[in-house]
């Protein structure tokens, strides 16, 4: 998608730097989430990092562009989906006899596929936290601004 320099947002320098780094930030967030049960970090930190990568994009390229790309309803819908996923994992625990019982095998301790439902919960929390914070960001940043022009 061709992003013109005079579109809004910050100067061209910031835009080019953002174009380079936003992908890396996103990848770092995904790494933090997936390795939540092995190394420090987890659903929360990873989700916030992913939300920050989107915020970085919006701040660099201006609010109007962002609203077209990501409808605000889509963001809050994703947040509800993340929350329902996490509650689903909790309710699936009933198959093992109780709320929040882990229904997956624990795998080998230090491998990526280990820790029962912890990686799944991490992913659900990441979707929820990421979408939620980006939703707050969009509401505070973009909508408040456009409302000012209306008045």
């Amino acid at each position: 998608m061709a992003i013109h320099s005079d579109e809004g947002g910050m100067t061209l320098v910031v835009k080019t730097v953002t174009r380079l780094t936003v992908g890396l930030i996103f990848l770092y967030g995904v790494y933090i989430v997936l390795n939540g049960h092995l190394s420090p970090g987890g659903g929360f930190a990873g989700g916030v990092i992913i939300a920050l990568s989107f915020m970085n994009l919006v701040l660099a390229f201006g609010g109007k562009k962002a609203v077209e790309i990501v409808k605000k309803n889509a963001v809050t819908a994703m947040e509800s989906i993340g929350a329902i996923l996490f509650l689903g994992i909790a309710l699936l625990g009933f198959t093992e006899g109780g709320f929040f019982r882990s229904f997956l095998s624990q795998g080998e301790t230090f491998k990526l596929i280990s820790g029962g439902t912890i990686p799944l919960s991490n992913i659900a929390i990441c979707i929820k936290v990421g979408a939620g914070l980006f939703g707050i960001f969009l509401t505070l940043m973009v909508l408040m601004g456009s409302e000012r022009k209306e008045k």
């Binding site: 092995l38 820790g115 912890i118 914070l133």
Partner: protein, 177 residues
């Protein structure tokens, strides 16, 4: 652990500066610095999970606070303290320091916590949950119900912000049903 005391002292000075500063934007940045200092202190205290989360969450908080300082006239920058509040605040400070000296004596001293329940977490979290990161094991398996409540808190805050930021709360009579 001398560097811990230096950092804590700098954070207190930073917090006082943030509170008393005239320009609001620089006050917000001062709070950001205090949050950064806190993240480093967490690293010193061997809590990497929390340092990462604190750093990242603090960046989001600073972004939101800076957004709040954008749309205001700078007439509101320096507003003197409320007299009654200042007195109550000073009394609270004295009370806190007194409490610190008298009360914290009965806590286990800094450096050897009463590892009553946590020792069992450390011993058999690998066997019980298979996760290497004990903190992740606690928040997502032993006390996962806490994290469900906590995720709900964030969900409530998002819906709350959407509710408060609605352009029109009460329908004017002309509105369709």
């Amino acid at each position: 652990m001398i560097e811990l005391y230096i950092l804590l002292a700098l954070m207190i000075v930073g917090a006082l500066a943030a509170v008393e500063m005239k320009n609001l934007l620089s006050a917000v940045i001062a709070v950001g610095v205090v949050g950064l200092g806190l993240s480093i202190v967490f690293l010193l205290l061997k809590a990497p999970d929390i340092a990462l989360t604190q750093l990242v969450v603090e960046i989001v908080a600073v972004i939101i606070l800076i957004r709040a300082t954008l749309n205001m006239k700078n007439a509101d920058d320096w507003l003197g303290p409320r007299p009654l509040g200042a007195v109550m605040g000073a009394v609270f400070m004295a009370l806190t320091v007194w409490m610190g000296i008298v009360v914290f004596r009965s806590l286990p001293s800094f450096g050897n916590p009463l590892m009553l329940v946590s020792q069992r977490y450390l011993e058999n979290s690998a066997a019980d949950t298979g996760a290497a990161n004990v903190v992740a094991a606690i928040i997502l398996d032993y006390r996962a119900y806490d994290t469900l409540g906590e995720a709900t808190v964030l969900f409530t805050a998002v819906v709350g912000v959407l509710t408060v930021m609605r352009r029109k709360g009460v329908k004017s009579h002309g509105d369709p049903q």
